[in-house]
């Protein structure tokens, strides 16, 4: 069995009377792109800070396999960290800031300078390298912030809310950047609130609420676990009687949209067959299937329906 890059085993952390993380376990394998999602105050940042070694767990253990061999201590040179609370030395030229942070992570200055030039050119900031960071636009400062976390080519990049404060264009840009980072061999663990971005980016999603894990898995795993894999949108010539439809086996919900369409939520195997039989007596103008989004799953997961989940051990 391959050694995970990070293995979190039943970790807990309390601040005063506040229980931030409780018996939390997770793993991040090499090459993965893993998202940690949860509401504000769920314990995401605390968990990430413990993984990068900034905070010590009260109990439990975190093991690392960053260099291929198991270790109990974190090697900061192999980890990149983008904190949620961001800031840069605004009075210092961009290139010097990047080289400094890479050097703190153990990269030699000449190599750091080469990497800085490469990435700044890649992000169209090559001609601004000698200017103070404070002279850049907010979007460009966020690019520099991101570079300062990954310039030293970490094995694992831990990104706390990487899309926070970005406009839609920059969100797309950072989405591509993170994919590029993974393609270059860096494993990525990130937290986010933007479920549509998480859905497009993450291989696996870990949901945390009130410091406890609500489960982890791929999007397909989540859909299966919630048995909410399919949603149907129907446009019929006639106005159907909704009551029999709602009692069809496998139909969880039927709603009429303002446009006059029907939105049918299905769950369980064979539900679609039963529904098609039931509506065959109507004249169907349009039928579309829609998958349940991560956003919806997330809302249900953290919104109090956790008890219905089959949480993976």
């Amino acid at each position: 069995m391959a050694l995970p890059l990070v293995g979190v085993d039943s970790v807990s952390k309390t601040f005063g009377r506040v229980r931030a993380v409780e018996a939390f376990s997770m793993e991040v394998g090499a090459g993965e792109l893993v998202a940690l999602v949860g509401p504000n105050g769920a314990g995401k940042t605390t968990m990430l800070r413990m993984i990068i070694g900034m905070l010590r767990p009260d109990s439990g253990r975190i093991a690392y396999g960053l260099d291929g061999s198991p270790s109990e201590s974190v090697d900061s040179g192999r980890i990149g960290y983008l904190p949620e609370e961001r800031g840069l030395y605004t009075d210092v030229p961009v290139r010097r800031v990047l080289i400094y942070f890479a050097a703190l992570r153990g990269m030699g200055r000449p190599e750091a300078a080469r990497q800085a030039s490469h990435w700044l050119d890649r992000l169209d900031l090559g001609d601004r390298a000698g200017e103070p960071v404070g002279s850049l636009s907010k979007g460009n400062q966020q690019k520099v912030q991101f570079l300062s976390a990954i310039l030293h080519r970490p094995v694992l990049a831990v990104l706390d809310e990487p899309f926070s404060g970005l406009d839609p264009l920059n969100q797309e840009f950072f989405l591509d950047l993170i994919r590029e980072l993974r393609a270059s061999g860096t494993t990525v663990l990130f937290s986010a609130h933007q479920m549509q971005l998480v859905e497009r980016l993450a291989d696996r999603v870990i949901v945390i609420r009130e410091g406890e894990s609500l489960g982890q898995g791929t999007l397909e795993d989540w859909r299966r676990r919630w048995r909410t894999g399919l949603r149907l949108r129907l446009r019929l010539r006639e106005t159907p009687d909704l009551a029999p439809l709602r009692s069809t086996p496998g139909v969880r919900d039927v709603q009429e949209t303002p446009e006059g369409d029907l939105e049918v939520a299905l769950e369980g195997d064979g539900a679609l067959g039963h529904l098609l039989q039931d509506i065959s007596r109507y004249h169907i103008l349009e039928l579309r299937t829609e998958e349940v989004t991560l956003h919806e799953i997330y809302l249900r997961a953290v919104g109090g329906e956790a008890g219905t989940m089959e949480v993976e051990a």
């Binding site: 900034m54 900061s76 040179g77 980890i79 960290y81 904190p83 961001r86 800031g87 703190l104 300062s148």
Partner: protein
């Protein structure tokens, strides 16, 4: 990366961030300018180098020469008194001297002049010569009568000479220059990083103790550059003022004893490291240095130098010796003592060891406070929390 390399990286960063060649040159020029300007103003306050005086009644003091000291005397008669007084008022003359019989006189000047003491000295000398001429006593006999008893004093514990005292005052002033510089940069650096939310990024890369160690070393180096810059400006001033005004400041004999200078410098540097560790921790506890009541702590290092200035008057007093041994006052008192008096080497060694020991304790405590203080945004931790950090971390 090794801890030493990380410390060096942070120290280098802090040093290069605050020491810029252009600013250093500008600082040197400004300091030199202030010294030259100050000297020029002081010389102006002493009055002109030559003073034109009109003298009426010069016959009552014939021994007063026309070129006594800095004064050029022009003799006149009483019928011109009003005109001459007018000329004094119009600044055409420095003053009008009216000499009367019986060794009395009056001086008309716009205001009480800065050269009055010089004139009184010249008049006294001329008066003495005049009376000697009238009596049977020769100047040689008078000199013999006025000569003090030839008593040779053999000093067992000689008091410092003027050169030594000047050197000590200059050294203490330089200590203050370094302290003020360091305090300014520490607060700018630490609170700036907190306000710019940089702490988390740095602490995720290196341990907080490494960060604070690098900061202390880097900012101490910045302070030493400020001190050296002031020294360079001072040396330039001495050379130029000597050329222009012939000013000669006596050099202390201690400059010939390199070991004393090295010991004094070492103690001063240890003092910087001690105070900068302390102040870095204090700065980490502040949200905004302009509004925080904790900025009062900056006066502590300044206050610690006060006993050193007092020590110049009696460097061998028991309390001065004690403060020279005990940190943190030893960082200023002992260098001052070294420059003005003989200090046993065991005292220098003990003072250094105690300063290093307390410095290490403060560094460790500062590292603990710094680690948590730098990650606390939005509010200042209470003293209770700080005590808890020191116990738990």
């Amino acid at each position: 990366m090794s801890q030493a390399r990380s410390v060096a990286e942070v120290a280098r960063w802090e040093f290069l961030r605050y020491v810029k060649p252009k600013q250093q040159v500008l600082s040197l020029i400004l300091t030199f300018g202030f010294l030259m300007g100050g000297t020029y103003i002081a010389r102006l306050a002493g009055g002109p180098s030559e003073v034109d005086l009109a003298v009426i009644g010069g016959e009552h003091l014939p021994t007063l020469s026309d070129g006594a000291g800095r004064f050029r005397m022009a003799h006149s008669s009483s019928q011109h008194e009003n005109r001459l007084r007018q000329e004094v008022e119009e600044r055409k003359l420095g003053g009008l001297l009216l000499l009367r019989p019986g060794g009395q006189g009056q001086l008309y000047a716009r205001q009480d002049p800065p050269w009055r003491a010089d004139l009184e000295r010249e008049l006294h000398a001329a008066s003495v010569m005049h009376r000697l001429a009238e009596s049977a006593v020769s100047p040689q006999e008078l000199a013999a009568l006025n000569a003090p008893f030839p008593l040779d004093v053999m000093e067992i514990a000689p008091r410092a000479g003027r050169g030594e005292r000047i050197a000590a005052i200059v050294a203490l002033s330089l200590v203050l220059v370094g302290l003020f510089t360091g305090i300014g940069y520490i607060f700018a650096s630490v609170t700036g990083e907190k306000q710019n939310r940089l702490s988390e990024q740095v602490v995720s890369a290196i341990p907080a103790q490494t960060w604070i160690d690098g900061k202390i070393l880097g900012l101490s180096a910045v302070s030493m550059v400020a001190v050296l810059n002031t020294v360079a400006a001072g040396l330039l001033y001495l050379a130029v003022s000597r050329g222009i005004w012939g000013t000669v400041i006596p050099l202390p004999t201690t400059v010939e004893r390199a070991e004393l200078l090295v010991a004094a410098l070492l103690l001063i540097l240890l003092g910087y490291l001690f105070w900068f560790a302390f102040l870095t921790a204090v700065a980490a506890l502040m949200e905004d240095p302009h509004t925080s009541t904790r900025n009062q702590f900056i006066f502590l290092p300044i206050l610690s130098t006060v006993p050193a200035f007092i020590a110049l008057t009696d460097p061998t007093a028991a309390w001065v010796r004690a403060l020279g041994l005990l940190p943190p006052t030893s960082a200023a008192v002992m260098p001052a003592r070294l420059l003005i008096t003989e200090v046993p080497w065991w005292e220098v060694g003990l003072a250094s060891v105690l300063l290093v020991a307390l410095g290490l304790v403060v560094r460790r405590g500062a590292g603990k406070i710094f680690r948590l203080g730098m990650l606390m945004y939005g509010k200042e931790p209470s003293w209770g929390e700080v005590r808890k950090w020191l116990r738990e971390a």
